[in-house]
Symmetry: C2
Subunit: 380 residues, 2 copies
Amino acid sequence: MRSCGIVVEYNPFHNGHRYHAEKARELSGADVVVAVMSGNFLQRGEPAIVDKWARAQTALQNGVDLVIELPFAWAVQSADYFAKGSIKFLQALNCDALCFGTDSDTVFDYAGYGRFFIEEKAAIDQLFHELPIGWSYPEKMAEVVSRLYPKAQNFPPNHLLGLSYAKENAAYNRPMELFPLPRKDQGYHDQTLPADQFASATGIRQAVLAGEEEVAAFVPREMLQELKQTAISWEDFWPYLNYQLRANSLADLREIYQMTEGLEHRLVEQAAPDFAGFLQTIRTKRYTKPRLQRLLTYVLLQVKVTEIKAEQENSMLHILGFTEQGQKYLNQIKKQVSLPIAAKIGQQEKEKHFLTYRADQIYQLIHPQEQTIGRFPIRV
Amino acid sequence: MRSCGIVVEYNPFHNGHRYHAEKARELSGADVVVAVMSGNFLQRGEPAIVDKWARAQTALQNGVDLVIELPFAWAVQSADYFAKGSIKFLQALNCDALCFGTDSDTVFDYAGYGRFFIEEKAAIDQLFHELPIGWSYPEKMAEVVSRLYPKAQNFPPNHLLGLSYAKENAAYNRPMELFPLPRKDQGYHDQTLPADQFASATGIRQAVLAGEEEVAAFVPREMLQELKQTAISWEDFWPYLNYQLRANSLADLREIYQMTEGLEHRLVEQAAPDFAGFLQTIRTKRYTKPRLQRLLTYVLLQVKVTEIKAEQENSMLHILGFTEQGQKYLNQIKKQVSLPIAAKIGQQEKEKHFLTYRADQIYQLIHPQEQTIGRFPIRV
């Protein structure tokens, strides 16, 4: 069976995501579409508006055959690490192709860009050494790409994620065939709802959280039901974060993953009535909103540097659900997969993906119906 | 001016406490009654039902002349440390006498008991060395007292606190004169309300938290007002503790003060609907309720071993309030006091009593009207 991988968050699942799954199958000529999906906390440092099981279920009802959970330590990360984790998982799942969204209609040779990092390694390494010591890794990398591969510059944000996928993918012995797909929905950060059936996830989230009823046109029926029952946001976790910032000493905060450059001082003693107000208070030009939201997620979950590494090294394929086709594919690959498979979370699995488990435990404070231990994969 | 010290918690202030203040003045012949009082968290590991300012105010209106805050690191402690801290503070305040409640009418020579620890030091030390290594300090101490000073055995619980005061007091160059006072109110743990005007604090708390109206006979009018407006209990903090136990790893919990003997394993993954249910789940014969409640307070405040020592070493006399007489006394002693005096909490004071400040910050999650920074002492 030929398989096409996709990397998703589905926050929430909308019509553009169904289009993506259909096109992934069509463009790659795949028999099965395999999604690697973030769990209850997401790449941009936010809780998912709807829990992972509901998102997986809707995906399986709308064109996806197999949903595997990307654990917290890979999911709640900058684009680089997020891509590294997702490609690792899709490679472990023996995917033949990868289809990803791009905001750009411009034809761009992603595979060539990926190979550039392999083929020009010596030149890249040398330039890295010559750049000022004070620069951060992302700053140096941007400079390297700008000088040695200028074609990759000045693209919109979703394109950058595609670049990261291409780079990671090229490093494997058997890279997946790449299928960039110009996005059907509105721009990634577009906050208004459009006239046709494709709206951005951001626009849909804002409408739902504002209590508006008008999102029915943009999401599958199954997701609409879920959104009506639960719509979770950072505001739900604000009382816990606010408490934690009062309980943690500066020394405690300094042990939190990504708490660099004295950021802990910005976080304490900021009086704010809610999360939005708090975020506004601590923002500066230097830090993007996702960077700060991830940091606050790490505070909320009390995540330490060593814990991120430990969970990453204990990666396993946690199956959230499958269709009949997805199950056949699992049977086909199960003897070749390079990561352990977990059909449900027991004591051992809980200890491997312990940050993901912790994220679930905290998510369940707001959404007690969710369940982690012993839950069987969804069958559609 | 002759001064008599008292050690109090006032949770809440009731008629028995007014009787205590009056008798302290009368028995000791003092011009001024000086109270060292726990702040917003108490010796038995509980949040105060009414905040420290309201308790200080009622005390000043009912026979006390000066109220000094016993900081968190000395207050939320076993009887030994609680006594060590309170006597240290009363000594720093140059008190001439100490009047404390005892459940026993039996005449007992507290001062003699205190001197025994000084005079028999060699014999006590030797016996300590001979006792099994596996015994804890309190176990060894109980054995030492039982063998070398059997008269101090088999007294009710409040008497034990008196013994601790006597022992600490005797170690100073100028010990305070001791005035034990048989308690007028019901037994310490009595949960029912009696027919006369003296009920135990425990009985009053339970009645208030159960929403009963019948406590008016047992507390001064000022306290009744406060109790009607706010009546805080552990249940108010249960959501935060429940969250914290999900966010902390076992390694995090092991760093908490007093988390000994693998207690952290008992605390995690206990499903309970509320604090009372949770406490029930984790209780064993080995640990008393106050011991466990203190431990949970340390978890709630994320208190580490080194932090307790640091706050203890930075002890200062934080004035919560005074009467005219109390102010005169302060003026008299202010050049001789052995600890720094703080009339209000600013940046420097916050850093000295940082656990007390943290306790306030967390108490204020439930009781936002309370204020720490820059608040002036109450004048009555």
